[in-house]
Symmetry: C2
Subunit: 110 residues, 2 copies
């Protein structure tokens, strides 16, 4: 127990869950928003933008990277980060699919 029963779900369901879960933390939302705000790569200094210790930020960045939501490339002794469209496109499709249904639903019930 305690473990999510991924085996019983489809690959798509598990993949979407991983993406949403990665976004599901305020620090990681803040990272995404910051990358958007500066409107370019960020080479270093994400740590100073967040109210968390450096190892904690490093961990959050790792999770976003593993999920395919950000990319990081070495630039000297710093790392350049930006959003990774791969992850975002996958989850975007899901929300478009949900949205299409929500429009229908209005005249159906509830």
């Amino acid at each position: 127990m305690g473990t999510t029963k991924t085996i019983h779900f489809t690959d798509e369901q598990n993949e979407l869950a991983i993406l949403a879960k990665a976004i599901g933390h305020p620090a990681r939302i803040a990272i995404i928003q910051h990358l958007i705000k500066v409107n370019s790569c960020i080479c270093g200094d994400i740590v100073n933008e967040l109210p968390l210790a450096q190892p904690t930020v490093s961990q959050h960045l790792k999770e976003l990277k593993n999920a395919g939501l950000i990319k990081g490339s070495f630039e000297g002794n710093a790392i350049c980060y930006c959003l990774d469209e791969n992850g975002f496109n996958k989850i975007k499709n899901f929300f478009q699919y949900v949205d299409k249904h929500l429009e229908n639903q209005k005249n159906q019930c509830c």
Copy 2:
């Protein structure tokens, strides 16, 4: 420790995180997809659609409800469920905002 430091983040960041986190489980993705598939309210019998025990499903439904992603109303001794546009609209806006940036980003870096 172990607790997310919500105080240090904005209400918007925390709210988006709660929504994404609620979606971030394959069982809850499956529930959303099922509600869309049948294209109407579901009065009862969500349990039989999922490979999980009844108390576990009940718990997942509760989480989706708390996050504002589904609505449930009593219909006799069963409960009618359908998607709640409130929650989905909030997170939809976030992804539209991200998407707008991703189109810009293409010519900027990385």
